[in-house]
Symmetry: C2
Subunit: 168 residues, 2 copies
């Protein structure tokens, strides 16, 4: 693909991904404010933006085999843990932006677990096995992620009660 077309699609992929994300949040707000019709509309259009984003990702060659995808995912988490979030944490601390600092901390702690999980899964795929995953639980406040039964009463990162975790 020619470079300027690639740049266009990368920008469109970012824009569609952010639109998808905003519409999901807007859907929740509409639900809470007593607009179920508008909540449904935001949810449906969020899915339409997912279709657009996924088309652009396919054209860009961002989606590979599972083995390639696990390497790509682990690499992204590694960058966030070792460069992106530490840099943004330093800026938030310097500027005394407490809320930003908290959300950066939440993300950084979860990404550490994600990188490990992806690398473990990659070893299994390299041995031609699936990863044995019974349940996966995710904290709805900070994104902390755990495989298997939860052995804590409160989220180890943000302290939310364990029974609020979302099960996959």
């Amino acid at each position: 693909m020619k470079e300027m077309t690639r740049k266009s699609l990368l920008d469109a992929f970012a824009g569609e991904s952010m639109a998808h994300m905003k519409y999901l949040a807007f859907s929740e707000v509409a639900e809470k404010e007593g607009y179920p019709g508008i909540a449904k509309l935001f949810k449906a259009i969020a899915y339409a933006e997912q279709v657009h984003a996924t088309n652009h990702a396919k054209a860009l060659g961002l989606i590979g085999t599972t083995q390639e995808n696990l390497k790509e995912a682990a690499g992204g988490e590694h960058f966030e843990i070792n460069e992106m979030y530490p840099a943004y944490d330093a800026i938030a601390k310097l500027q005394e932006e407490k809320l930003a600092e908290r959300y950066i901390h939440y993300a950084l702690e979860a990404e550490k677990v994600h990188e490990q999980m992806y690398n473990d899964a990659l070893k299994d795929v390299e041995d031609n096995k699936d990863k044995e995953v019974d349940k996966v639980y995710v904290c709805p406040v900070c994104g902390y992620t755990a495989i298997g039964d939860l052995d804590f009463d409160k989220c180890p990162v943000c302290g939310v009660p364990a029974d609020k975790f979302v099960e996959f």
Copy 2:
């Protein structure tokens, strides 16, 4: 919020939104390749990235009331219809990148419908009413969106059979 912290969080919001989107696509690939455990892991971690993205969006003040959110959403669609996708379409045509051109066309056509839907819903909210929405259908190939019963056999944009549309 101080400007450099704002820039950090905007970049992190974009990164988390794109990670969420990629992991959803990676989950589908894993499912198809016969790795249900890894498919579940990608899906759960996609949700964790949604939590991160939503936290950043909240700190940035990107999420308002439903009335504000509809204006923001309509404005985003308007930009994509009138500037972003026409510009990228011109580049893709110039560079004879057929696949990019097709996916840009798909998105542009859907965004036109989205802007109209958001503006209609905004009028209802300004009259203190919800939008009457029975069903919303979305094309899984091009993202074309329709409210109410489908009055066509094939998607008017991409030609996929109407019974493939996803119902919300």
